[in-house]
Symmetry: C2
Subunit: 151 residues, 2 copies
């Protein structure tokens, strides 16, 4: 699911081209433009945001191509998604401080507790963002079931 993220130094278009050739998928102007857009941004745009930006250079792109391409890039390991995957919102009775183990393949989220992780010191730079309330560690990986399946 996330084989490698590749060298950050190589220009986006070249990186995509190499990854696409290797995976046997076609290199199209839409895909180049979409990857270049995501790679150039430090905020975390959703599909709509990418669409609006890419449309300025490629007026004919369609939103569904943006979606298809973003998931393709995810499968190629060139980008990742934030938070839980393409699922519905999940709720959590916040009765105790805990951390999450999230399976990147199926989205299964399991809690674990760790007094050591509860007390992580934050870098000072965080203060610039606002007022932190709590800190959670998110461990991303494959769950046992998905790992067995991919073997």
């Amino acid at each position: 699911m996330t084989p490698e993220l590749g060298p950050a130094s190589e220009p986006p278009r070249a990186r995509f081209t190499r990854a696409a050739r290797r995976a046997g998928v076609k290199v199209t102007p839409q895909r180049l433009e979409i990857f270049a857009e995501v790679a150039s941004r430090t905020d975390h745009p959703d599909a709509e945001g990418v669409f609006r930006a890419v449309r300025e250079r490629l007026p004919a792109v369609s939103l569904d191509t943006v979606y298809r391409t973003l998931w393709l890039l995810t499968d190629l390991g060139l980008i990742t998604t934030l938070g839980t995957r393409r699922e519905s919102v999940r709720f959590d009775a916040g009765t105790s401080l805990h951390h999450h183990y999230v399976c990147t393949a199926c989205g299964l989220t399991q809690d674990f507790e760790s007094p050591a992780l509860d007390a992580i010191p934050l870098p000072e730079s965080v203060a610039a963002f606002g007022v932190p309330a709590r800190t959670q560690v998110e461990v991303l990986g494959l769950c046992a079931a998905c790992h067995a399946e991919s073997a």
Copy 2:
């Protein structure tokens, strides 16, 4: 947005009743049942999952009441949502290892880097879940703008 999570020891129904009285919202069988359900679970059900479970005790509940109640409980600070809020999926060109500062009010997510956080030792218990790939720290709080607004 998340004033307090309250004592975990108090029974769920009593906790909800106190919180509701204090906030001036009504205590209904549906709300009691929905909160009791979420509080009793360690997995992270979505609205549909809560709905199915609650329906066994309250056959007449409707899915939209479950939604309304879950967001009410979130506003009361009794439960939280997992991952980013009720938004669309966001994408991230994963070029470097970074951590996230997430505003619990507006969902704004900002990256920051911290070599110290990159190297957190994980507790051994995590190995039981599967094969970890990477670890990210998620700092939850208000962003500067939302904090200013709530003041």
